[in-house]
Amino acid sequence: MFRIDIQKRVGEFDLRPSFETGNELVVLFGPSGCGKSLTLQAVAGLLRPDAGSIILPGGVVAFDAAAKIELPPQSRNVGYVVQQLALFPHMTARQNIEFGIARWPAAKRRERVRHLVALLGLDGLEDRRPRQMSGGQQQRVALARALAAEPSLLLLDEPFSALETPLRSMLRREVGALRRRLELTALFVTHDLSEVHALADRVVIYDEGRVLQSGTREEVFRKPVSHRVAQLIEARNLIPGTIDAYVEGVAVVRTPWCTARIRDPEAPVRGSVYVCIRPEHVIVLRAGREAREGDAVVDTVIIEEVAMGNTHRLFMRALPLHTDLGEPYIFEVDVPAHPYEVLGIASRRDWRIALTSEHLSMVARSS
């Protein structure tokens, strides 16, 4: 179990992260400058919090302001990989990896390096210096160096951001698999939402130094707790509405463009909300086909579309059900390439869409 609950003032910036996690890969996600990296520095011991506590896996108290406990970084046994890698340029790959286990007996140390070299596919590169290696190879050396002393916690600060896309997704998969194999707790910082999708067991959503939401990836994506979280995780469709009724755990939300039924046992009984649905969870209905029971149906017109490789993003305008209810709403809908062709979406512009009920959520709207 890892737990952090600290406060730190850095100039004008107020950092107050608070979350906990088990033996998982936790992605700290948020816009640049929201305090994710500072949080890792505090965990590593390179930034002293003003207050609060940090408990490392295994129950080791790394920092506790009230009890005046502060372990120096060299006593925390935390593996830390930073964006710029910071491989020691005057050392070979082997010397870099060995740096953290210099005090181990020589035979054990050699065995450990051999193991890590095999684990990370660095065979034959042991005697190269960092600048004689490619970006991906340097990345692996940095990872091996951080893992050498068998840390209780792995900190990864945007480790792949300098790499090209194919290499990036490969290393992402490798890191995920490696972490599961080693049963390590890992904190992974990124501002790239695709890394949340690809890696996270658990997500901590950051904004302006605070944790807005923390939960499993499914929880956070299914049910963002606020409009800001929904924005950050790119839910895209945030439709203003009002709760009309609440029956047996299902809220009936009336919006100017449709009426949605949202199953949410914790929903407020009344009030202004945004109905929230991701672009990939909106279905374009074939002509004449009925929507499923419970899905909200909207008649729309495609006003713009953007090809995104394997999907098409459609911008679909819906008129309010009554003209005096307000402005048109533009839905964002992602259609994978295959259904796009089968449905013949390019052939006409009027389409009925369904907001699938199991993917609908709502967040409070102050008005």
């Binding site: 520095q41 590593a44 011991g45 390179l46 120096p72 970084p73 060299q74 006593s75 925390r76 046994n77 935390v78 593996g79 830390y80 930073v82 710029q84 910071a86 020691f88 340029p89 005057h90 740096f99 953290g100 210099a102 005090r103 210096r129 160096r145 951080a146 050498a148 002393a149």
Partner: protein, 279 residues
Amino acid sequence: MTGSGPVDRVGRRRANIGLAAVFTLPALLCVAFLGVPLAALAWRGFGSGEFADNVTTSLVLDSLRLSAITSTITLAVAIIAGTPLAYLLATRRFPGKAAVDLLLDLPIVLPPTVAGVALLVALGRRGVAGRPLDAAGIDIAFTTTAVVLAQLFVSAPFYIRTAKAGFESIEPVYEGIASTLGASPLRTFFTVTLPLAWPSLVAGAILCWARALSELGATLIFAGNLQGSTRTMPLAIISAFESGKSIDVPIALSLILVGAAAVLLLLLRVLARGTPMRV
């Protein structure tokens, strides 16, 4: 720059031809001014056929030996005492840091004679710190120790300045990562920081050594000009002139110093370029 079309390029080349024509003459004058005296020195020194005889006089040999010993000690002291100061100045904040910084720049811009007077006032027999030392039977002024102190005063700032710049250029993340890997601050300094700063430390050491080797004014005032104990090579050149016998001995001494300076500068270039320590 493929963006700038052929027209632009031709235009710039024409402009350059005009500029080059105007600039060549002053540039050549500059080179000649710096080169001719040194060439004349070499021509006279080696041309007389008596270079070997001139170099083996006791005046030359004594001063050569003294200069080699004192400048080496100066360098060693500057490195041992100056490296910690350079590191602290580069990485820490402390009260009075701006004053220390200024203090380090002063010897670089001051005339060395001022340094000599200051040292004499401080450490001379009747100086501020010299009087108690004198009472304890320790004499500094007009000894070989004074030669080293005079050299140290004017040359150590060159090492400290350059070393400080080297330490400043190291991103703190390297030391941070080393500490998360279990290294104590001292181990981090010796295994990470020092190697990363190495090119700057070498450059600073060479500058410091060269400055110590050429030191004259402070030495003359604080250490005097006694053959064998305080007469370094620059002082021997002056003495040889003043004795009025021949210009051949000063020429020989000068040639040795020119040679030493050239070797040091070449060394500096090679070390600053080819070192594997470079990031």
